[in-house]
């Protein structure tokens, strides 16, 4: 059983999707339990395989049994799990379970009788994301990228907002071009190395003093793969599809896509950088780290500033995602000799997934409950929806980087990387974006606390009887959200804090995983 875990992680949601597809349309009520059970199985398997990795190092699983004894390396498809993607897997499983709980009633309301299809797509999306994370085959990665992309196009276009449909169309074009670039890059690599297995490619590229690695087409391959992934993760100049797509999608879709898609793409980029090309090749031979870090700096600043210009809550969050992607890409490219930037970037993948989830769930509740799409509509929300706002605050504080949330610690390690590698512009950008985030979120808190137009002169009211206050202009009928949406919100908020407080062990795991990768390059 235990040796099948790597396959089960991916297969459990797949079978779940099939069951929902077969039986869901007969009775919508079976959808949710199936989703939950299959994701729980995935989570269990991820935890199991993660423990194996911690005990005995990276785990390989050869699909169809074509391992190196029976055949040559790369004949079959290999799944490979090390400590880093073990962590990412757990995050994906937890996030998707939380979102599925969030969607219990939401999905039905937002998808008008297409609930089973929604859940099929939802599960296939997780299949794609899990698959992208575990696979060690460059082409298989492409197929799974397409699984996740196709489902996310549909999840976005399912919404009723017509702007969401247009955004989905742009996303299809951009996403397809991105995936095609990736495919092309893999093709160039295949042409030069004759294999698709990531480990094998790395072996070929570094063999004999890295002579094959120095050829121009390998460089072009890297650029193509990188650009393809940058489109997928909405890195700065290529982010155009993201804000509208995520903000006008149905809230359940937005909640699963925003935390996972960009982060997993970043993970894939890191995996390609370290696992396929290798530290030495990327930072030693290519040596573009300065340019990319500058690009990341621009991404961070542009994302933050554009977020500042938004009047709609969800769009603002989407631009923050663009900034956060800049954090991660920049961190991964800092190339300080001890890999602190890389550590920070990987930790930020985990942290940002939960931060984003927290904010998106809270924002979805607010948008739905009080029809408050714009920030100005949030007046008096602290009074009306204290629990939701608590979740929102925790997510926001994590975004700003206030201890003890995880956002603080990831920033901490990223800044350390920036200092050690001498990229002061990156440090400055991180701090500036923290400040901008602070302005952004406190603008919201202020509105939520004071109401849109604060009362002239404070009221000394009759004790507790007028606890409701005179601040809100909204109808007082707005009440706290329902439990099925609050539970995931609060759990996420708790994770945001716990992940921050217990960053030590997580960082230790990440460090132990990336130290050998750095050492190989020297």
């Amino acid at each position: 059983m235990a040796d099948q875990f790597p396959a089960i992680i991916v297969l459990a949601p797949l079978f779940g999707a099939l069951i929902v597809g077969l039986a869901g349309s007969r009775d919508h009520r079976i959808c949710f339990p199936v989703v939950l059970v299959s994701l729980a199985v995935s989570l269990f398997a991820s935890l199991g395989v993660f423990l194996q990795v911690l005990q005995s190092g990276p785990v390989s699983y050869f699909m169809s049994g074509w391992d190196t004894e029976k055949s040559v390396l790369g004949a079959g498809i290999e799944l490979r799990i090390d400590a880093i993607n073990g962590l990412v897997l757990i995050v994906i499983a937890v996030v998707s379970i939380l979102v599925s709980i969030f969607s219990i009633r939401r999905a039905g309301e937002e998808t008008t009788e297409k609930t089973p299809q929604f859940y099929v797509l939802f599960l296939l999306l997780t299949v794609g994301i899990f698959g992208m994370t575990v696979t060690n085959d460059a082409f298989n990665l492409f197929v799974l990228v397409e699984v996740s992309s196709l489902t996310s196009y549909a999840l976005i276009a399912m919404g009723k907002a017509r702007r969401g449909t247009m955004a989905a169309f742009n996303y299809i074009l951009m996403g397809t071009v991105g995936a095609s670039f990736y495919l092309l890059g893999v093709g160039y690599l295949y042409l030069k190395t004759g294999t698709l297995n990531m480990g094998h490619i790395h072996e070929v590229l570094t063999a004999n003093g890295g002579e094959i690695g120095r050829s121009p087409s390998v460089m072009v391959a890297f650029v193509m793969i990188l650009v393809g992934l940058w489109i997928k993760m909405a890195f700065f100049p290529l982010y155009g599809w993201l804000p509208n797509a995520y903000s006008y999608a149905p809230s359940t879709s937005g909640c699963i896509l925003a935390p996972l898609m960009t982060k997993v793409s970043v993970y894939v980029m890191i995996r390609v950088m370290l696992g396929v090309f290798g530290w030495e090749w990327v930072f030693g031979h290519l040596g573009w780290n300065h340019a990319v870090v500058w690009l990341a700096v621009i991404a961070i600043l542009a994302g933050s500033v554009l977020a500042l210009a938004q009047r709609e809550l969800k769009k603002m969050l989407c631009y923050l995602i663009v900034a956060e992607v800049g954090y991660m890409v920049g961190g991964a490219w800092l190339a300080d000799s001890e890999g602190w930037g890389m550590t920070g970037a990987i930790y930020h993948i985990l942290a940002d997934a939960f931060m984003t989830l927290c904010l998106f769930i809270a924002a979805s509740i607010l948008v739905k409950r009080c029809k408050a799409r714009r920030i100005e509509d949030l007046g008096g929300m602290f009074k009306k929806m204290p629990v939701t706002m608590t979740g929102f605050i925790i997510g926001a504080l994590a975004m700003i980087g206030i201890p003890p949330t995880c956002g603080f610690f990831s920033k901490f390690y990223l800044i350390r990387g920036g200092i050690e590698s001498g990229h002061w512009e990156f440090v400055a950008a991180l701090i500036l974006s923290s400040l901008i985030n602070a302005v952004l979120f406190f603008r919201i808190f202020e509105i939520a606390f004071f109401g849109n137009k604060p009362a002239e002169g404070h009221g000394h009211e009759e004790g507790e009887t007028s606890e409701q206050g005179s601040i809100g202009e909204q109808a007082l009928s707005v009440r706290e959200a329902r439990l099925s949406t609050l539970i995931p919100l609060l759990v996420t908020a708790a994770i945001v804090i716990l992940l921050g407080v217990f960053n030590g062990p997580v960082i230790a795991v990440i460090r132990s995983a990336i130290e050998p990768l750095i050492a190989v390059g020297g």
């Binding site: 980087g401 610690f409 400040l435 604060p454 404070h458 009211e461 062990p505």
Partner: protein
């Protein structure tokens, strides 16, 4: 170096007030139980602090590692933290008592929220006092900034909004922009070493200019200390209800700022680093002159303020810089004076704020020019005000005398005559902006005992009585405390000696 024992006591001392929050929320419909919870928590907290004191007075630090790892979270109580913890936890009880009287007297809204965040901010204050490394210090510092924001903006009106904005923009902005990079830089520079207990940055680690930059980044980053030019949040935060102002300006927030500065100067930098020469000055002297500038300018501004609370606010800015200045002198006696001044200023200033609040509750007056003759109607309040101002000016009989005496001696022994003069001038200024208030309150010219300007509402002096007992009792106690500590300051001095000896 002192010994240390492992104990969970610091954790409980911190948590005592945090655990009161659920109780406060549960009893939101029962004001008596709610405030009861606050009190119980306060007493429990004080009890824990005193229990820790039993260890600390023998020169043993109490330590508790909450989270291990490259970024550990550690609580560690030494003598310096103890002084601050004693001040904060004892004054919290009085402030709560006062808050009850004040809030009920004015029938304020959202009292539950008020008490809840009050408790949270005390949790954070003790956290800062007990922080065992820079990261923990920063963590609780930020929690404090955030948890006091709803208190500052309690009134939820326009004024509160702009005051709150200034407040957060300064505190959060500077801490993220200066303190955080400085913290991370220190962490990187020393290879993940941020524990307090010995100097984090040893001599030779940094050149003179980076030292200055780092020192100023820390000191401006912890802008709760109110050093110019990052001081303007303090007067802005005056929009808060008076108990909050008392808490902010006397106990928790500003003292946390100077406490952080003391920690940084004494624990982060080796003395050698701070005395490297840059031209004619050394890093510590640069800090000292920034502080001296703040002292003088803020005292002068205070003279011109008519709003009592604003005058108190500028006075606070000056007094805080005394403490910073004392620390920057890098002399044993001056350090002792600085730490003692935390306690001295806390008791004195809290009395003054309580009085200002009591006057407002009783009469609705905010401006000094309107208070002529009021002392005859509210004798207890104004007597307390007098005692409090003695403490802040540094006249006998008050703890302020002892602390200022040490500061001045320290300046003299350190050979900084110019700074000595600054101390003296500012003391005169202090007297100049406090004593006339008292004088006018008790000895008004007869024609001035008249209602305010034309058009103002009719105001009868004869109906004025003392504020409710819940206001008057605490301010009497703090006044007595300020007075009494002059005679019984022995235990504080012992602690301070321990602190100085450990460096």
């Amino acid at each position: 170096m002192t010994d240390s024992v492992n104990s969970l006591l610091p954790v409980w001392a911190c948590l005592a007030s945090l655990l009161a929050v659920p109780a406060i929320l549960i009893f939101r419909k029962e004001p008596f139980l709610r405030e009861g919870a606050t009190f119980v928590a306060g007493l429990v907290k004080l009890g824990f602090v005193i229990a820790i004191y039993q260890h600390v007075k023998n020169g043993t630090a109490v330590e508790c590692v909450l989270i291990e790892g490259p970024l550990p979270i550690v609580l560690r109580v030494d003598a310096l933290g103890m002084v601050f913890a004693l001040v904060a936890s004892s004054l919290w009880i009085l402030t709560s008592l006062y808050a009850i009287g004040y809030m009920r007297g004015l029938k304020e809204h959202s009292q539950t929220r008020f008490f809840a965040f009050f408790a949270v901010s005390l949790f954070a204050t003790l956290g800062v006092a007990f922080a065992g490394n820079l990261l923990t210090l920063y963590l609780f510092y930020e929690i404090l900034s955030l948890s006091t924001w709803p208190l500052v903006t309690h009134h939820q009106d326009k004024e509160a909004r702009s005051g709150g904005r200034t407040y957060l923009a300064h505190l959060l902005g500077t801490s993220v922009a200066f303190a955080l990079p400085a913290l991370i830089f220190t962490w990187v520079k020393t290879g993940s070493e941020i524990e307090f207990g010995k100097a984090i940055l040893e001599s030779g680690d940094l050149g003179p200019w980076p030292t200055v930059a780092l020192l100023l980044a820390f000191c401006f980053g912890f802008s709760k200390a109110g050093m110019m030019p990052f001081h303007s949040w303090l007067p802005g935060a005056m929009v808060a209800p008076t108990p909050v102002s008392a808490l902010l300006h006397a106990v928790a927030v500003v003292k946390v700022g100077v406490f952080c500065v003391i920690r940084v100067v004494t624990e982060v930098f080796d003395t050698d680093l701070l005395t490297q020469a840059i031209g004619a000055l050394s890093p510590s002297e640069i800090l000292a002159w920034v502080a001296a500038f703040t002292v003088l300018v803020s005292s002068l501004i205070a003279l011109t303020q008519d709003n009592l609370k604003r005058r108190l606010a500028f006075s606070t800015i000056g007094q805080l810089s005394y403490i910073v200045l004392g620390v920057a002198l890098l002399h044993d006696l001056a350090w002792r004076g600085s730490v003692l001044h935390i306690a001295a200023h806390a008791t004195g200033k809290i009395t003054l704020f309580f009085c200002a609040g009591a006057i407002y509750v009783a009469t609705g007056k905010k401006y000094i020019s309107q208070m002529r003759g009021l002392g005859r109607r509210m004798p207890i309040t104004f007597t307390a005000f007098f005692i409090g101002s003695l403490g802040v000016i540094g006249l006998p009989p008050s703890l302020g005398l002892i602390s200022k005496f040490h500061l001045v001696l320290g300046a003299a022994n350190a050979g900084q005559i110019a700074l000595l003069v600054v101390f003296l001038i500012s003391t005169i200024l202090n007297a100049a902006y406090f004593l006339p208030i008292v004088y006018q309150a008790f000895f008004p010219k007869s024609d001035e005992v008249d209602p305010g300007e034309a058009g103002a509402e009719k105001f009868s002096w004869h109906s004025v009585k003392e504020a409710p007992w819940a206001c008057v009792v605490p301010l009497s106690i703090t006044a007595l405390l300020s007075f009494g500590l002059f005679f019984t300051s022995g235990f504080l001095q012992e602690l301070v000696k321990l602190f100085v000896a450990s460096h």
